[in-house]
């Protein structure tokens, strides 16, 4: 009888302490959540302001003026736009699989090779 009472008393105490801790933890986390929400809002507002600034800095006339001042760019010319069909024909691919030899460029004019430039005395003058 007495042992049972002590047992129940212990259980009740433990539960009480646990409940207190859980409640405390929940409160702490709620505060944390509210803090995070505040932070999110602040960040969103900052993003919002930055977006406006980004758009303001991206005004086409400003970009154009900057490009004119700092870069050597010109409007795109139609001659600079090509299509895949305009590329020269692909090199004929010999059947490399049959003997495992890398495809050769036999029959094609040699590729230009870089040559060290030697300035002669005349040229220097």
């Amino acid at each position: 009888m007495r042992r049972a009472t002590i047992l129940w008393f212990l259980i009740a105490t433990c539960l009480g302490v646990a409940l207190f801790l859980v409640k405390h933890e929940v409160q702490r986390r709620e505060e944390q959540l509210a803090g995070l929400h505040r932070q999110i809002l602040a960040s969103q507002e900052a993003i919002h302001v930055l977006e406006a600034e980004w758009s303001y800095l991206n005004r086409p006339d400003r970009i154009e003026a900057l490009v004119r001042r700092h870069l050597n760019l010109v409007p795109m010319d139609t001659r600079r736009i090509g299509s895949v069909e305009m590329l020269p024909m692909r090199l004929p691919m010999p059947d490399a699989a049959e003997d495992g030899v890398a495809p050769t460029l036999a029959g094609l004019p040699p590729l230009p090779v870089g040559r060290p430039l030697v300035l002669t005395r005349e040229a220097r003058r």
Partner: protein, 565 residues
């Protein structure tokens, strides 16, 4: 129990008392059992059955979302055109201000635009709240704060900001102090913007908008014009890619706008467009079958009707075929073509093209066409070359898009749309193809040669109209010079219109201020600069497919044919 009941026997009072006790015990037991049963049932309901009315998981507040006073407006690529920013506004509680004179003086040192005397009077008043300045910049707020004057407070307010300034002024419009839209998209979508959080995406492309505005500005400066309008339209969807009206205004400084700059020439202004209407006239005659690409009309003599004489500007004084009438922009030939279709046919055709009603553009500033009433034969004759029916530039662009895109008219729109409207057929596929060839002819070998752009197969039509003056006459010196073009002509993607209001000829143009001299070069530059941005690949116009597609045989009188490409 049983043994005990056998052994213990009680009689009389004692038995009575035991009976009563037992009954009470049973009653109490029943009540407790009932209570436990109820609790048990509730526990089962909550845990096993999911609990009606109770959320299954602990609920959390939805993630914090920034609510701005008004939704943003963005262009088709998502760049901001209008947004709301939180700005501090300065107010004062005069009761808390200790020395009004001194406070006002010190304030005016950091906020130069406020008047010290006026502010001092405000601060000395016995109210509890006076506005000192709305919408301060962060720097100003910092400076006011560092003055440390008691009684000054800030309140955050939403302010509408237009980062692009004048660039999209007419399309986007602006709001009043209380954040109510009063023009442009801001007004037509006021409800949506006010309630919404998602940005409103317009069909405008800022880059193209900038190019059109810049080229239009250049033409207006070169020809000392009073204004102009420029529109770029996607022919397959009816989306407005660029819409410029000049002169324009800065929506960030409300209250300082000249009413003239607020006027949207592209959508609200209605003008007699002149020869660009011959596109519709020719398409109408070809579609009705009263004229063909091989037939023609005698344009030797001017037409005299009532007190008017209809003459040609580039008079050839001979028989002209339909392609020649279009190429040389012959008024006489166009009038005869229109007369063959008839007044009713013309009115029906113009109605089908939407020329008799307001456009579908989502703006409050929509011009109502000036339609002749009654529609007499003389009106039929003048409308053939673009006089007598005044429409907005947007009407013209929408109509031309329908003519070149295969004959389907779609409502013009300012909103980016993923699903284009199905549209409604106005002319046959064949007529549309013929019109494309005719428009290409004008640029290759007609009045619009200055619009040609290497690689983009531009086709179009010039228009030079005299503005209607007082007393029902026309002012010869004030012109509306325009050029409407489509590109690439073998498979049109975009229509471009440039219209310049009252250009004056210069020495370089030999005194001419016609559409071919004023507007066509601007169209050419706009196409060259914006086509790479719009993803139109340049082509060689001499490739056999394109040549065959756009080839025209110009018949001459007597059956001989002259090939022209």
């Amino acid at each position: 129990m049983k043994t005990r009941s056998e052994t213990v026997r009680l009689e009389g009072h004692a038995k009575q008392a035991i009976e009563t006790g037992r009954n009470r015990l049973i009653l109490a037991g029943c009540l407790v059992a009932l209570a436990f049963a109820a609790i048990g049932a509730r526990v089962i309901e909550l845990s096993a059955l999911g609990g009606a009315g109770e959320p299954g998981v602990a609920s959390v507040d939805p993630d914090a979302q920034l609510t701005v006073g008004r939704a943003d407006i963005v262009d088709r690529d998502g760049l901001l055109l209008a947004t709301s920013l939180r700005t501090p506004s300065l107010y004062a509680d005069p009761k808390e201000v200790l020395d009004a004179e001194d406070a006002a003086f010190r304030l005016s040192t950091v906020l130069p635009e406020i008047n010290p005397a006026e502010t001092a009077a405000k601060l000395a008043s016995d109210r509890r709240f006076v506005w000192l300045k709305r919408n301060l910049t962060p720097r100003e707020q910092q400076e006011v704060n560092s003055l440390g004057i008691p009684g000054l407070h800030f309140q955050d307010e939403w302010k509408r900001i237009y980062p692009q300034g004048t660039l999209t002024a007419h399309a986007v419009g602006f709001t009043d102090v209380d954040d109510r839209g009063i023009s442009g998209v801001e007004r037509s979508f006021d409800d949506v913007l006010r309630g919404g959080r998602d940005p409103l995406r317009l069909s405008l492309d800022l880059r193209v908008q900038h190019i059109v505005r810049e080229e239009l500005l250049r033409q207006i400066a070169t020809f000392s014009a009073i204004g102009g309008a420029g529109v770029v339209l996607d022919v397959d969807t009816g989306e407005t890619i660029a819409m410029v009206s000049l002169p324009d205004f800065d929506p960030n400084v409300p209250g300082q706008m000249d009413p003239d700059t607020l006027f949207n020439r592209a959508t609200l202004g209605v003008y007699e467009m002149g020869s660009t209407f011959k596109i519709f006239n020719t398409a109408m005659a070809l579609d009705a079958g009263t004229a063909t690409m091989r037939s023609g009309y005698d344009a030797t003599h001017p037409i005299r009707i009532a007190r008017f004489t209809i003459n040609d500007d580039h008079a050839k004084a001979r028989w002209l075929s339909v392609p020649e009438i279009f190429k040389y922009s012959s008024n006489i030939g166009s009038v005869k073509m229109a007369l063959d279709v008839g007044t009713d046919g013309q009115r029906a055709f113009m109605a089908k093209l939407g020329m008799l009603r307001e456009t579908a553009i989502e703006l409050p500033e929509r011009g109502r066409p000036m339609v002749p009433s009654p529609w007499r034969p003389i009106n039929t004759m003048t409308i053939a070359f673009g006089h007598g029916l005044a429409v907005s530039p947007l009407h013209l662009v929408g109509g031309v898009a329908a003519i070149v895109n295969g004959g389907i008219r779609r409502p013009v729109t300012l909103l980016a749309s993923d699903i284009p409207s199905p549209g409604q057929r106005v002319i046959s596929e064949q007529t549309s193809h013929d019109m494309r060839r005719l428009m290409r002819l004008v640029v290759e070998d007609g009045t619009g040669r200055k619009a040609d752009t290497p690689g983009y197969v531009v086709g179009g039509k010039t228009g030079t109209a005299e503005k209607a003056g007082g007393r029902g006459g026309y002012k010869q010196k004030s012109l509306i010079s325009s050029f409407v073009a489509a590109f690439p002509m073998h498979d049109p993607r975009y229509v471009v219109l440039i219209m310049v209001d009252e250009p004056k000829g210069t020495k370089e143009t030999f005194g001419y201020a016609t559409g071919g001299w004023v507007a066509a070069p601007a169209v050419s530059r706009i196409v060259a600069r914006s086509a790479p941005l719009l993803g139109v690949a340049p082509v060689d116009p001499e490739t056999p497919e394109i040549r065959r597609d756009l080839m025209i045989e110009v018949p001459v009188e007597g059956g001989k044919r002259l090939a022209s490409f």
